[in-house]
Symmetry: C2
Subunit: 181 residues, 2 copies
């Protein structure tokens, strides 16, 4: 398992090893002792899977305390651009984001710690899969509008397919008025 740090503390990319043979392929997508040895969170309590057609954008989402979620994200088929925004108010990179191309051809993953907003846009029809350190809690759901002017994320797409719910999300400025000058 290759571990690649990003410019944001705690946000990392992971590249597991794939074994190929005449039958097809095999990979471990999660292994608790290996995650423990790497110093990564190793306790996940929920696994989710979504399918998105090309051009769908989901996000930016997070759950509020006490249901904040760390997420281990990857794609199983297809390819997405994945975005993680640092919302940890004591972080030197608060308000900054990192983009990952998650590609089923290389089976790379990202670990997004608690305290981040998360979203992705499907660059192809894609099956997206993620493990969460805390369970879904509808009452704690929150988010930021995908095209927020302060976050200024380069999604590489101008008219994504976005759910009605996601079109109503708040701005970064509304959620963190003290942080925007």
């Amino acid at each position: 398992m290759q571990v690649i740090k990003t410019s944001i503390e705690g946000l990392i990319e992971l590249r597991p090893q794939t074994f190929k043979d005449s039958r097809g392929s095999f990979l471990e997508t999660y292994n608790q002792p290996v995650f423990n040895a790497l110093g990564l969170p190793a306790q996940f309590v929920q696994d989710n899977q979504s399918f998105s057609t090309k051009g769908v954008l989901r996000g930016l989402h997070f759950q509020k305390e006490p249901f904040a979620q760390g997420k281990l994200v990857r794609v199983i088929t297809g390819k997405v651009m994945d975005i993680a925004v640092d919302l940890r108010e004591d972080s030197p990179t608060f308000g900054k984001y990192e983009a990952f191309i998650l590609d089923s051809e290389i089976s790379n993953m990202a670990y997004i710690p608690e305290g981040f907003a998360h979203g992705f846009v499907a660059l192809e029809d894609s099956i997206f899969s993620y493990k969460c350190t805390n369970v879904y809690n509808k009452a704690c759901e929150s988010g930021i509008i995908w095209n927020d002017p302060d976050l200024n994320i380069d999604w590489g797409i101008s008219n994504p397919i976005v759910s009605d719910k996601d079109q109503q999300l708040a701005s970064f400025r509304d959620l963190y008025p003290q942080s925007v000058t």
Copy 2:
């Protein structure tokens, strides 16, 4: 989550709920509190994913104590026939098997307890995924030949693609000489 019992104690089929909308679909494939509430094993320490072309048969495999594995199995794309053989020597169904069609169209899953041998044949090109209650341990790997005459499994295929390793697996009779008359 719909829970369907089989004729073998502890071996069950699960059907999670899928939410569809204009973006695609969403489902929870694992939720620890839900599994606890259903009385199912809820602690998994390894997740695996394999791709098999149509006609590939993997199995029949199990790990010996102290690394016996319970497995929560499903397919993400494609369709397989999944086989679980009861090898619990104190079980009234010892030596019996159950077949499941695991189909990505309905996202059904099976929970196979510790003490079973497991295998599947890919009815289409298929991505297979499973969660394990114990980690991989090469030294504890064991298995039974897929076309064992005593188990007499109806795989519905006569010339599957089988790994060299799987072609050398022992017979049921060799592993349990006292059980075959």
